[in-house]
């Protein structure tokens, strides 16, 4: 086989970079696509969860006898059905998780730690019976004082959530428990010396609210546990292999006995990387001997599934009058929810990542509060810290009269920059996004009176990870592509394009599907902007594996050495005249001859993809503020981001637009409202206001392509970064419109009105 037969691109591509019709499109628009709640099995029961009405309460006893006595109730599960697990930290998402906490989050044990915390669950013949059964369960609670705010939770007198929680990361270790689970510190250079070099130093305190990922499809699953200890689970998830691992751990099963299938998914954004219903459904099915289906209501989704962390951030930046940033410092306090594990570490690492700084210090606190355990949400931890830093950068630019894009260009991280979080950057595209911003029509168009314009940049690392893929060549030369990463943002299309490019065949000849946990080796979840990159690498490797087999078969058929065969444009050809005169064998030819010449062709890859390229983006936004109502209207919005190589540009644009819109919601409206007893008052989309189409203009996008050298086609992940800049960009635009700096989110009409009113009232002498 010739050395050039591995599908390596020389820069020009036939399929990568095109926009074919999405392979899952017809099923989705016709309603055929099956989501988490769309499967029905014979004898299926309905499972429902009894949730704590209290934000913090000790559970003295749970009496399920009356529920079990109700006709139609098949079984009930409580804490007694789940084995307690020892403290064992395992990597999951952006932080380590502790199985001791996971089992308690799934079903409360000693205490209920937030309103909505599961306390018991019922399986019954109908939803009506299940609900009636829940009402019959008697729980003896001792209501305890609760704490929701991160700063209040850090106070010495705050109610303790976990009486055994000793702060990690502090030397010497504290001797008394607190709600601070961990303290982390990232330091580069000498910040005091850096601030001493500055002509201007600005410091501010910021706050952000917890916000939900807002996926349209609530959590749902169906479990079917058989008498021989085997089980099947169908669920909506970003990672069915991860679900399998967690469930097997919680139920004491071998992973080989649990087969998990990922349904189509109606959004995840990080929120479907953990388990909630799945272990409970399996336990109900194990005890009842019947399949059990569970779905969350929207109210339950808000009450009991993880939002992004609410935060309090103090940040300080020093700069010379010439616009050179000399030092940055920040203190980040992140809510973890009821159990430790906020994304404060990545928050620390991302805070100053867009800048080439010699002196940086960031300290982070991971703090438990009586709210649902936080979950990943696009670039977890980064939007909150970068909101603070990017707001101050804007203020510094105004202070010296420098264009904010120019100021960022003057200080931008680039290849060779030692990142504030430690490593030295390889090729990255921040400068390119800033240059595009400066040249963009949006940035050069004059504002209308009363409007404001803001810019901000953002960063996310991106990851690779364990990934498998298979390509099965059919007897007619078409291909079934099997991947293990659930398709949330168009990855099936992206993977088909990368396979087609490598194999040199028409993309229409490749049909993708997401395999269940029995069909592929372990594959990490869809998250961290890894799928187009890591599953793409796996698919490319699988295609190369298939090409090797095809070339070997052609060599056998032609009776020539395999290195005298090359794979070009989807067919085997003799490599030069010395190899002999043979008609090329296409994929279809070889598929037709497969049985008689040695058997079927299956290309496989199992990799641990490394070297994901980081992604930077820059956003421009124009706002108008209604001075009478306080409503901020997004008039124009442009996202510019480095994608490395956009495999399917429409999907990349969709990711950029989606991230921006979610960031707009975070900036302007979204917040959880609790009463004085810690009960959520707005657990629904009517009162928890995510943006809808009429709230936003068409989000313009510019894709910058600075190739990631690790990936054969240069791909970088794109899904995380676009949610990072919006909050600061909008706050900067509002400041431009009103002359008022908002440091607390959301900039909702009541807050804007209040700020306008405060600004009008002269301060007392």
């Amino acid at each position: 086989m010739a050395a050039n037969s591995h599908g390596k691109t020389n820069g020009s591509t036939r399929w990568v970079g095109t926009r074919p019709v999405r392979p899952d499109g017809v099923d989705k628009v016709t309603g055929r696509a099956r989501f988490g709640a769309d499967v029905h099995l014979p004898n299926m029961l309905v499972g429902k969860v009894l949730r704590s009405p209290h934000a913090h309460a000790r559970i003295h006893s749970i009496d399920t006898s009356a529920a079990l006595a109700l006709p139609g109730v098949k079984t009930v599960v409580t804490r007694d059905d789940f084995n307690d697990l020892p403290s064992e930290f395992v990597p999951a998402g952006e932080m380590l998780i502790n199985y001791r906490d996971v089992v308690r989050n799934v079903m409360a044990r000693e205490k209920a730690l937030f309103e909505g915390h599961p306390v018991a669950a019922v399986a019954a013949v109908s939803e009506k019976v299940a609900r009636e059964a829940l009402a019959r369960i008697k729980v003896d609670y001792e209501v305890l004082p609760h704490v929701l705010d991160v700063v209040e939770a850090m106070a010495p007198e705050a109610p303790l959530l976990h009486e055994d929680l000793i702060t990690a990361g502090v030397e010497p270790a504290p001797t008394t428990p607190s709600n601070v689970a961990k303290v982390v510190e990232f330091k580069l250079g000498d910040v005091e010396a850096g601030f001493a070099e500055a002509d201007i130093v600005i410091e501010r305190e910021f706050s952000t609210q917890p916000v939900h990922q807002g996926y349209i499809e609530p959590h749902a699953c169906i479990a079917n546990y058989s008498e021989d200890g085997q089980a099947e689970l169908w669920c909506t998830t970003q990672g069915h292999f991860v679900v399998r691992g967690h469930c097997a751990k919680l139920l004491g099963m071998d992973v080989s006995k649990l087969r998990v299938t990922a349904s189509e998914i109606g959004g995840g954004f990080g929120g479907k990387t953990v388990v909630y219903l799945e272990p409970v459904a399996l336990m109900l099915s194990r005890k009842s001997g019947q399949p059990v289906k569970m779905t969350m209501s929207r109210e339950e989704v808000f009450q009991a599934s993880g939002p992004a962390a609410g935060t309090r951030v103090w940040a300080k930046v020093g700069m010379t009058n010439a616009g050179r940033i000399t030092a940055g410092e920040a203190v980040l306090k992140y809510q973890a929810g009821a159990f430790q594990g906020s994304p404060v570490q990545p928050g620390c690492m991302c805070a100053f990542a867009p800048y080439d700084l010699a002196h940086v210090k960031v300290v982070g606190y991971d703090v438990v509060v009586n709210r649902p355990k936080v979950a990943a949400y696009r670039a977890p931890g980064a939007p909150q810290s970068e909101f603070a830093v990017e707001s101050i950068i804007d203020e510094l630019a105004k202070r010296i009269g420098m264009d904010p894009v120019e100021l960022r260009l003057k200080n931008a991280a680039k290849e060779g920059t030692k990142a504030a979080y430690g490593p030295t950057f390889g090729p990255v595209g921040l400068v390119e996004t800033l240059e595009e911003a400066k040249a963009h029509d949006h940035y050069r168009t004059p504002l209308k009176p009363g409007q404001g314009r803001g810019v901000a940049s953002g960063f996310w690392f991106n990851i690779g990870g364990e990934t498998c893929a298979t390509l099965n060549l059919g007897e007619d030369g078409t291909i079934a592509l099997v991947a293990g990463t659930p398709d949330i943002g168009g990855s099936r299309a992206s993977l088909c394009l990368q396979a087609a490019e490598t194999l040199g065949v028409d993309v229409e000849r490749i049909r993708p599907l997401i395999g269940d946990t029995s069909t592929l080796g372990y594959t990490f979840l869809t998250g961290g902007s890894r799928t187009a990159f890591a599953s793409g690498m796996a698919v490319i490797e699988a295609a190369r594996d298939m090409i090797r087999q095809l070339c070997e078969r052609a060599a056998k058929i032609w009776d020539i050495p395999v290195d005298a065969v090359e794979w070009i444009d989807g067919e085997a050809r003799p490599a030069g005249s010395n190899a002999g005169e043979f008609e090329p064998l296409s994929l279809a030819d070889l598929a037709r001859l497969a049985g008689k010449s040695g058997g079927p062709f299956v290309g496989r890859a199992q990799i641990n993809a490394q070297g994901a390229g980081p992604s930077f983006g820059t956003h421009i936004v124009d706002v108008d503020v209604d001075r009478e109502t306080g409503r901020v209207t997004i008039e124009r919005y442009t996202v510019i981001q480095d994608a490395g190589k956009a495999v399917h540009p429409s999907y990349v644009e969709g990711q950029l637009q989606g991230g921006a819109v979610q960031g707009i919601g975070w900036a302007l409206n979204e917040e959880y409202i609790y009463d004085d007893k810690g009960r959520l008052q707005n657990p629904g989309f009517l009162d928890y206001r995510i943006p809808v189409c009429s709230d936003v203009p068409m989000i313009d996008t510019v894709i910058v392509e600075v190739p990631n050298p690790t990936h054969p086609y240069g791909v970088r992940g794109v899904g995380e970064t676009p949610i990072v800049p919006p909050m600061a960009a909008i706050a900067n635009a509002v400041e431009g419109a009103l002359g008022l700096r908002f440091t607390d989110l959301p900039m909702s009409p009541p807050r804007v009105l209040k700020a306008l009113g405060d600004a009008r009232v002269p301060k007392a002498a």
């Binding site: 930290f89 395992v90 990597p91 999951a92 998402g93 952006e94 380590l96 990361g169 030397e171 982390v184 510190e185 990232f186 330091k187 580069l188 990922q213 995840g268 954004f269 990080g270 929120g271 990387t273 570490q345 990545p346 620390c348 690492m349 990943a376 949400y377 696009r378 670039a379 977890p380 979080y421 430690g422 490593p423 030295t424 950057f425 390889g426 996310w460 690392f461 991106n462 990851i463 690779g464 990870g465 364990e466 998250g527 961290g528 902007s529 890894r530 641990n608 490394q610 070297g611 994901a612 690790t710 992940g717 899904g719 995380e720």
Partner: protein, 81 residues
Amino acid sequence: MARVVFIGNFRQLAGGDAEAEIAASNVRDLLRRLGERYPALAPHLDEGIALAIDGEIHQDALFSPVRPDSEVCLMPKIAGG
């Protein structure tokens, strides 16, 4: 020898050292030698870490090569949403 950079809490676990020079041909060797030199760091090297080798992030990759002139930065493991 590779230059290992400690950031965040890893620096604390490395006795306050900002950097160390370690002779290693791959990640497994490097982690083993780091654990020998810094016993407080050793328990943290099995899980939950990532290495930026010459700026490229490697996670769970024991056999990724480390060159004599490599810069290796220990950092917390990264995922995302």
